[in-house]
């Protein structure tokens, strides 16, 4: 299956990566997607996760075609 992983803000900078396409067999959850995209980097405690533009928890399942985004707390407004 194919999953698009995106990183924003300080996470994008620290991982030096804004987007990655995973062609994955063993990705069942958000954490799996993080681990595969970052080669097992530690996930910061305050990371927020969205699948297809909706907030989800870290244990949420991912499916073929999903866009999974990781980012720090938002600071707009």
């Amino acid at each position: 299956m194919t999953i698009t992983v995106k990183f924003f803000s300080s996470l994008r900078e620290s991982l030096d990566m804004s987007s990655q396409t995973l062609n994955a067999q063993n990705v069942a959850t958000v954490i799996d997607a993080w681990n595969q995209a970052t080669n097992g980097a530690k996930m910061p405690d305050n990371v927020l996760v969205a699948i297809n533009m909706d907030y989800v928890g870290r244990g949420h399942q991912v499916k073929d075609g999903d866009e999974v985004a990781f980012f720090p707390p938002v600071t707009g407004g």
């Binding site: 995106k6 924003f8 803000s9 300080s10 969205a50 533009m53 907030y55 985004a69 980012f71 720090p72 707390p73 938002v74 600071t75 707009g76 407004g77």
Partner: protein, 147 residues
């Protein structure tokens, strides 16, 4: 209702004036307009700030601004609303966000305006990176608390 993400500077009061002029079906109907404008300051967390980059996640940001506005429409009797938010390179005195809500009465206008602002600040994916006077940069780690 107008909800827009803007890449260019805008004047909050001129936008408000221009938008309200176009709302012909509202004339004589609204008694209360509550407005919030957020403006970039030249100081933050005790440091002089000379510029800011406002990053966003375009599709999700638009989706959440719409979602938040529609949640407000479900909770209060709102006649119209305007939400504008800047992204990109920003300088002190630039408007960052403008939220205006038109209602019959004042309490619902204030509540809905505040709701949209707080939801936007807590859920819409925007991130601020400041450039200080010595040209160092830093990501803003969190918003000022609501209270």
């Amino acid at each position: 209702m107008k909800i827009e993400i803007r890449e260019q500077p805008f004047n909050a009061w001129q936008e408000l004036h221009g938008y309200q002029e176009t709302c012909n079906e509202l004339r004589g109907k609204y008694g209360a307009t509550a407005v919030f404008a957020g403006t970039m300051r030249d100081t933050n967390a005790s440091a002089a700030v000379k510029a800011m980059f406002l990053e966003h996640y375009p599709e999700m940001t638009s989706r959440y601004l719409d979602k938040i506005a529609h949640q407000a429409l479900q909770q209060w009797t709102i006649q119209d609303a305007l939400v504008l938010h800047r992204v990109g390179d920003i300088h002190p005195e630039d408007t960052i966000v403008l939220i205006a809500v038109w209602c019959e009465h004042r309490d619902e206008a204030f509540q809905a305006c505040r709701f949209i602002l707080e939801e936007l600040k807590h859920r819409a994916p925007f991130w601020k990176k400041e450039t200080l006077s010595d040209n160092t940069t830093r990501w803003v780690s969190s918003n000022t608390p609501a209270k």
